[in-house]
Amino acid sequence: MIESKLDLYIDGLGVNFSGFQAVSNFSMVVAHGEMRVLLGANGAGKTTLMDMICGKTQSTEGKVFLGEQEITNKPPHVIARLGIGRKFQIPSVFKELTVLQNLSVAAMKQVSVFANLGSMKRQIHMDRLAEVMELTNLNKKADHVAGTLSHGETQWLELAMLIIRNPKVILLDEPTAGMTADETLKTSRIMNDLKGRHTIIVVEHDMAFVREIADKITVMHQGKFLAEGRISEIEKNQAVKDAYLGSGGIA
């Protein structure tokens, strides 16, 4: 594994929503194959940060690089094609299509309209399809309509769609939100399986889950960078303690 290679480089990123500074001057470097967890209280700007990386929100300052390439404020589908996959907090899948159809869409080799006018078979990553369905426990649900899946299964389906697309960087916004303890455990198994194959950034509140998966943690507070380090370091960090205990924030 090439540990030194950088996959994601965020330089002084910020956004101002007509007067409200949601994120300001945020910088972060994520190495290839790393699993990074973003922590922070509600409103710390974690989701906004992800929105800016994947092109959902237009940043007003700073830059984002994917490897060597700058991707700041490019349209979402362009950023996605360059290799950033995003999973949303509220699971979003194609509800009227079957699980297999959902995954087939994600497994398409081509993205343009005209290149896709042909029939289904050859232009889909079939081998990956089977592997990912196995990994995400969906192989028995292939013909079910996605709208009928349970909450946990819907989350896995969306995760599976991302994995099949095989992006360099995966952004996950609370992948275990609303899951039972058992489902959370399964999800952490999936995540550990992905470790090293993709560069992953996760927003998560469940500390047990974070302990299970994280390499390194970045803490945000009120739209700013607060701390970064291994989980043991973060737990001892005074600034983090102050911010979380709500002693009026950091001085």
Binding site: C54, K56, P76, H77, A80, R81, G85, R86, F88, S92, V93, F94, K95, E96, L97, Q101, N102, S104, V105, A106, M108, Q110, V111, S112, V113, F114, N116, L117, G118, S119, M120, Q123, I124, E158, M161, R165
Partner: protein, 383 residues
């Protein structure tokens, strides 16, 4: 027998019926049925855009009207009356009526816009424009709407306003378009010297085969990878975007295809009915198309097609009896409300459900048979 077998059977039955109809119908009914089949084609266009792309277009009539007028202009210039008037080039009669006293009687300059008619002396040009203009409109409208991320009810409002605007322009420019009267007294459509008499079997087959081709091509398109991606965009546009698909490009493309089908229907309608009228761009007509698709089943190409044919057939025979002349529109409206409330997938949805039950029962039977056989075998073994 599986579900897809039954689907194929439905298509086969429909196609065979359409092709066999001339055996049973006289000239008058043949011409009428041809018009219903053209409405069926409009049902396909609405289903593609509403059911598969999630774009509820309340102005489908603008594409139909554009197609009708484009070929209508060519057929108008080719009519005997137009050919008799004018010196160098044929002149439509309404242009003569609207001409200034000292105007030059020529297409170039009888009025300020008449030069636009010059290329329509070629029927081929009219034919090409009947598809190209609707596609151009759809492309212009679609690339604005979809790249701005406008969706849902706002698309409906914009398309509704567009069709009204177009109708207004057509009605207001009487000297150029024939205004309220539209284009009447048209020549027959002619290919290599063969004239398509609107009341002939040949014209019926022209329409029937066009419908079948459109139906099958649309089916292929939906079954393609792009068709699947289109449906995924309908379900969740954002998810598709963040997988790397340019949602606006897909929506614009299929919006254009839907417009092309409508334009094609428009040109066929001019051939069979011998007129083009601004009523094609009436709001009621565009909304009627949506009702066809809703009742037939918007998520089914064939369902919407049959819905359009059945309702327009019912409508014209029912509104001939005095009892229903006034109330037919109200009945149609009521049907729409009931369908939306109680069978969101229309008639096709019901057929779909029945098929599913049928297949499930067959599977059940098969299983039971096999079980019985197995039991007999074990019994036989024991004896």
């Amino acid at each position: 027998m599986t579900h897809s077998h039954l689907k194929i059977m439905a298509y086969v039955i429909f196609i065979v019926t359409v092709l066999m109809l001339p055996l049973a119908l006289d000239e008058f009914w043949l011409n009428r049925t041809a018009k219903y089949l053209i409405f069926g084609m409009l049902g396909v266009a609405v289903s593609l855009s509403w059911g598969y792309a999630g774009i509820l277009n309340l102005g489908q009539g603008m594409f139909f009207g554009a197609g009708a007028y484009m070929l209508g202009m060519s057929l108008k210039l080719a009519s005997p009356t137009s050919l008799e008037q004018g010196t160098e080039s044929p002149i439509p009669d309404f242009m003569m009526w609207n001409a200034e006293p000292n105007a030059v009687i020529d297409l170039c300059c009888i009025n300020s816009g008449s030069f636009l008619w010059i290329p329509f002396q070629s029927q081929t040009f009219g034919l090409i424009m009947a598809i190209a203009l609707p596609v151009l409109f759809a492309w212009a409208l679609g690339s604005i709407i979809f790249s701005k991320g406008i969706s849902g009810v706002f698309i409906s409002i914009i398309t509704l306003a567009s069709v009204l605007l177009m109708r207004l322009l057509v009605v207001d420019n009487q000297a150029l378009t024939g205004g309220f009267n539209g284009l009447t007294d048209l020549a027959w459509f002619t290919v290599f010297g063969y004239e398509f008499d609107p009341y002939s079997v040949t014209t019926y087959y022209l329409v029937a085969c066009s419908l079948i081709v459109v139906l099958l091509l649309t089916r292929l398109l939906i079954n393609s990878r792009s068709g699947l991606i289109l449906q995924s965009i309908r379900d969740d546009q954002n998810r598709a975007k963040y997988l790397g698909f340019d949602a606006a490009a897909y929506q614009t493309f299929f919006f254009c295809v839907s417009a092309a089908i409508s334009g094609f229907a428009g040109l066929l309608y001019v051939i069979t009915s011998e007129f083009a009228s601004p009523t094609f761009m009436d709001l009621t007509f565009s909304i009627t198309m949506v009702i066809w698709a809703a009742v037939g089943g918007r998520a089914s190409i064939l369902g919407a097609c049959i819905g359009a044919i059945a309702i327009s057939m019912l409508g014209s025979s029912v509104s001939e009896s005095e009892l229903f002349v006034e109330s037919w529109q109200a009945i149609l409206g009521l049907c729409f409300v009931l369908v939306v409330l109680f069978m969101p997938n229309g008639l096709a949805g019901i057929a779909h459900g029945l098929c599913k039950k049928f297949v499930a029962r067959q599977d059940d039977k098969k299983q039971r048979n096999e079980q019985n056989k197995a039991e007999e075998l074990t019994k036989g073994g024991a004896a």
